[in-house]
């Protein structure tokens, strides 16, 4: 029943962090494979966002962990190293967020006071529907991507203002799209077997392959001395 165990990392989130994107979800995942069809999965990550308002000079910031549990189903019936996955996740996070802005000026009395809202508490849960594809690169290494449609199921946050970004969910809208590019290390019975032909071939066995090909070619070519007409003539003489 248990066909393998995999651990993965979302390289897209790391790339977004590296290029200084407005927000980034950096996550790792662990999953088990059942009959090469069902893949229960657990994802944990850290979502962070620092967003500067262009004209307003407001700043929103948060950084908090998030979790997702769910399952993928492999639609591909052939065991050929490729997996077409459809699945669902349930995500949840509890976080603090900060908001700073220019000093507020009273419209009646003209008094000015600074405003800095720190440690506002938020709590969100959401459902994700996923579609994705992954393939075996070489050996136990697999690369895949998926696209996710996210719908909030529960959200609570401070009355002072809605958070601009929710860790793990993304921008705080009624629905959201997201995605990951996963580099996964698959360990188990089907990890090596199910790739009949890895996408990048056998990177560490190039020389061996060449040698094997050469010996095959030698075996297939007929012995020239025996099959030429000249040799037959000699035998007849």
């Amino acid at each position: 029943m248990l066909s393998g165990v995999g651990v993965g990392v979302d390289v897209c989130g790391l790339a977004m962090k590296a290029v200084g994107a407005k927000f980034a979800n950096m996550e790792v995942s662990g999953r088990i494979g059942l009959k090469e069809k069902y893949f229960p999965i657990f994802e944990i990550g850290i979502g962070e966002c620092t967003r500067y308002g262009g004209e307003t000079t407001n700043v929103f910031s948060t950084r908090a962990p998030y979790w997702r549990i769910g399952m993928d189903y492999n639609v591909n019936k052939k065991v050929n190293g490729n997996r077409f996955l459809v699945g669902a996740r349930y995500g949840f996070t509890t976080y603090n967020y900060d908001f700073t802005c220019p000093d507020l000026t009273d419209p009646v009395y003209g008094t000015v006071k600074p405003l800095q809202l720190e440690g506002l508490k938020g709590n969100n849960q959401w459902l994700e529907l996923c579609v994705g594809f992954e393939t075996r690169l070489w050996s136990i290494v697999r690369l895949g991507w998926n696209i996710r449609y996210k719908m909030p199921t529960m959200q609570s946050y401070s009355e002072l203002g809605t958070p601009y970004y929710v860790p793990g969910y993304g921008r705080n809208d009624d629905t959201a799209f997201g995605g990951t590019v996963n580099l996964t290390f698959d360990i188990g019975k089907t990890a090596r077997k199910n790739g009949q032909k890895p996408l990048f071939g056998n990177l560490f066995g190039k020389k061996k392959n060449k040698e094997a090909k050469e010996t095959k070619v030698k075996e297939q070519t007929p012995a020239p001395a025996e099959s030429t007409p000249r040799a037959a003539k000699r035998r007849g003489q």
């Binding site: 929103f60 809202l117 203002g161 995605g179 590019v181």
Partner: protein, 160 residues
């Protein structure tokens, strides 16, 4: 070879999809004012006299010499618990002033880093002097972006 090309193409498309467009969704009407409508004898009425409203301690009027109006929209202070407003009504041969006290709680409201921060209010109590104001009732305590009626100011009925 085809498989490899298709895989990388799918990766690029999905990455483009992930880096989706960013939009700014600020509320178009982002002024916060308290809306007061005038009533007389239980019916909405237009005030033909001149109305001036000032806050105690402030020289600049909040509403200056307004005539023929049936309502007024006033800003509330951000940091005071009670706003004290002076309503001056003047006609050809008279001028009276009523004082209105508005108790409220104020709280910050923000929607996005791209939008300005606003102050919303919740009116908890209203009282006034009664020279020309008969009574004041709270119809909607929340003072926010919606310009719905917050206070009903009832004037004394006209003597026959």
């Amino acid at each position: 070879m085809k498989q490899r090309k298709a895989f990388f193409l799918a990766c690029i498309i999905s990455l483009l999809g992930i880096s989706s467009c960013d939009t700014i969704d600020c509320t178009l009407n982002n002024t916060v004012v308290m809306t007061c409508n005038f009533y007389q004898g239980g019916k909405a009425v237009q005030l033909n006299d001149t109305l001036t409203v000032t806050a105690v301690g402030v020289d600049n009027p909040l509403l200056n010499r307004k005539r023929g109006t049936s309502s007024m929209a006033l800003p509330l202070s951000f940091f005071n618990k009670v706003d004290t407003l002076l309503l001056h009504v003047s006609g050809e041969d008279y001028a009276v002033t009523d004082t209105v006290w508005i108790e409220k709680t104020s709280y910050n409201h923000f929607e996005s880093p791209d939008c300005p921060v606003n102050m919303f209010h919740n009116i908890t109590a209203v009282k006034s002097t009664h020279l020309f104001i008969d009574s004041i009732s709270i119809s909607r305590p929340d003072v926010d972006f919606y310009e719905d009626e917050n206070l009903q100011i009832h004037f004394y009925p006209v003597a026959d």
